[in-house]
């Protein structure tokens, strides 16, 4: 008869726990992070699961040993209920070794006298069934990613709280996109639309191209469109540079970069900042596009 009563209680508790856990589990929103009330309710119910029923002096030992928890619950629970729930935990513990290894506390030592309670490696006061464990793992993943994002976005380190950090991130993305738009407008104003004659655009690189020829070879960017093509041909031909097809396919990129890199290696003036080198690379582009 005792067994039967235990089974019924077991069923009841299981149903209740399931029903309480399912709402925050809803889908893939990381706002489960913020649904604290629901979680607290879950923890309220589950905390008797997490530690043994206060039936003896063992609890002092356990309380001393335990990790800090989010919700302390010391309410007395039905011994039968807790016993049956712990039996369920024991079963679950076997199924989920991986997730539980992350959690710390075990309350095994003082318990074995009173209850057949094998330690549950979950944090005190937290649920240990698969759903909440999965939820917790998810939340920790999301928290880790949020930390990474905080490092990426400048000025986000001091802010605490998910909502504010998200707000910062959104503002940053919006500002970056606006900057792209604004810069593209400026580029469109400055960058001439030229009909590029590709074969004449290429030059074998040498150090002579670096300083002295820049001013001579660079035509003003805003000259008339139709004339630039002819202009470019005049500019390039006196150099006697062998034409090389460039823009045809992707595999020419290695070839394209060779002369530039050899050129860049000449730059021994010590300006090794990457932005400086980027400037040189773009200068070479500008030359080739004959702007």
């Amino acid at each position: 008869m005792m067994e039967k009563r235990e089974e019924m209680c077991y069923q009841f508790v299981e149903d209740e726990i399931e029903s309480l856990i399912s709402p925050p589990e809803g889908g893939s929103s990381f706002t489960a992070l913020l649904e604290l009330p629901a979680n607290q309710v879950v923890k309220l119910l589950d905390s008797p699961v997490g530690f043994p029923v206060p039936e003896g002096g063992n609890n002092d030992v356990n309380l001393v040993k335990e990790e800090p928890v989010e919700l302390r619950n010391s309410e007395d629970s039905d011994p039968v209920v807790s016993k049956s729930v712990k039996r369920k935990e024991r079963e679950k513990k076997v199924k989920l070794p991986v997730k539980k290894s992350k959690n710390v506390v075990n309350e095994s030592d003082g318990d074995k006298e009173k209850l057949p309670y094998v330690h549950v490696r979950a944090r005190r006061g937290q649920a240990t069934d698969s759903h909440s464990l999965a939820e917790r793992a998810r939340r920790e993943k999301i928290n880790a990613r949020m930390k990474l994002l905080q490092e990426l976005v400048p000025g986000c380190n001091k802010i605490s709280g998910t909502a504010m950090v998200l707000d910062e991130i959104i503002n940053h993305v919006q500002s970056l996109q606006r900057q792209v738009e604004f810069l593209s407008m400026r580029l469109a104003a400055v960058h001439p639309s030229i009909d590029i004659n590709i074969d004449n655009m290429f030059s074998a690189e040498s150090g002579s191209l670096m300083d002295c020829n820049f001013h001579g070879m660079v035509s003003p960017p805003l000259s008339l469109d139709g004339q630039i093509n002819g202009h470019s041909q005049q500019l390039w031909q006196p150099d006697g540079l062998p034409p090389q097809p460039l823009w045809g396919a992707e595999e020419v990129n290695p070839n394209f970069i060779t002369p530039e890199n050899s050129l860049l290696s000449y730059d021994s003036s010590g300006n090794s900042g990457e932005s400086q080198i980027l400037n040189w690379a773009v200068w070479m582009f500008v030359l080739k596009l004959n702007i």
């Binding site: 893939s28 929103s29 990381f30 991130i169 919006q174 810069l183 593209s184 407008m185 580029l187 290695p254």
Partner: protein, 176 residues
């Protein structure tokens, strides 16, 4: 996307340099494609430059990321759609596309119109913030939260590099 293998003092595989090359390539392509009216209408040209910027970002990132894939898909679809629409009605398609683009850009510039308060909770249970982020990052609408944050991080990194490249270009062009 095979990175160039040239031993130099810099890292030729760096995102910035790849972006620079690719962006200039795209710029030239776009400028040489439909060169009618380009020199008169700055709006259209600036839009093309913007598309080139996003395209180069997506190309450099390749298929590794969902946002780059979605951008590439969008560009290909636009190309196909534009060609189809051209056959149907030449003028109407341009007006429609232009209008659509204006609508999109204004939506971005005035997020307050669409989301008056970032914290209100949608009936679906999401906070307005998250939905906002999903709309901003391309291709992240149907993603779970974890992946969304990943995509956002990569997108921010690439966007920042692209902005840097463009700024350098503008400075160069303006000082010639």
């Amino acid at each position: 996307m095979s990175p160039p293998h040239q031993p130099t003092s810099i890292n030729p595989n760096s995102l910035k340099i790849q972006l620079a090359y690719r962006f200039l390539h795209n710029l030239n392509n776009i400028n040489t494609k439909r060169s009618n009216l380009d020199h008169t209408q700055i709006n259209r040209k600036s839009h093309r430059v913007k598309v080139a910027a996003y395209a180069s970002m997506a190309f450099v990132t390749g298929s590794r990321r969902a946002w780059s894939r979605s951008i590439l898909r969008k560009i290909r679809n636009r190309g196909v759609l534009a060609r189809i629409k051209k056959r149907v009605d030449h003028k109407a398609s341009r007006v429609r596309v232009h209008h659509h683009l204006n609508a999109r850009s204004t939506k971005r510039r005035n997020p307050s119109c669409s989301n008056p308060n970032g914290d209100y909770i949608d009936p679906s249970g999401n906070l307005g913030l998250e939905v906002k982020l999903r709309k901003l990052v391309p291709g992240a609408v149907m993603m779970d939260a974890c992946g969304l944050l990943d995509e956002t991080a990569d997108y921010i990194k690439c966007l920042a590099t692209q902005v840097e490249v463009m700024r350098t270009l503008v400075d160069l062009y303006s000082t010639i």
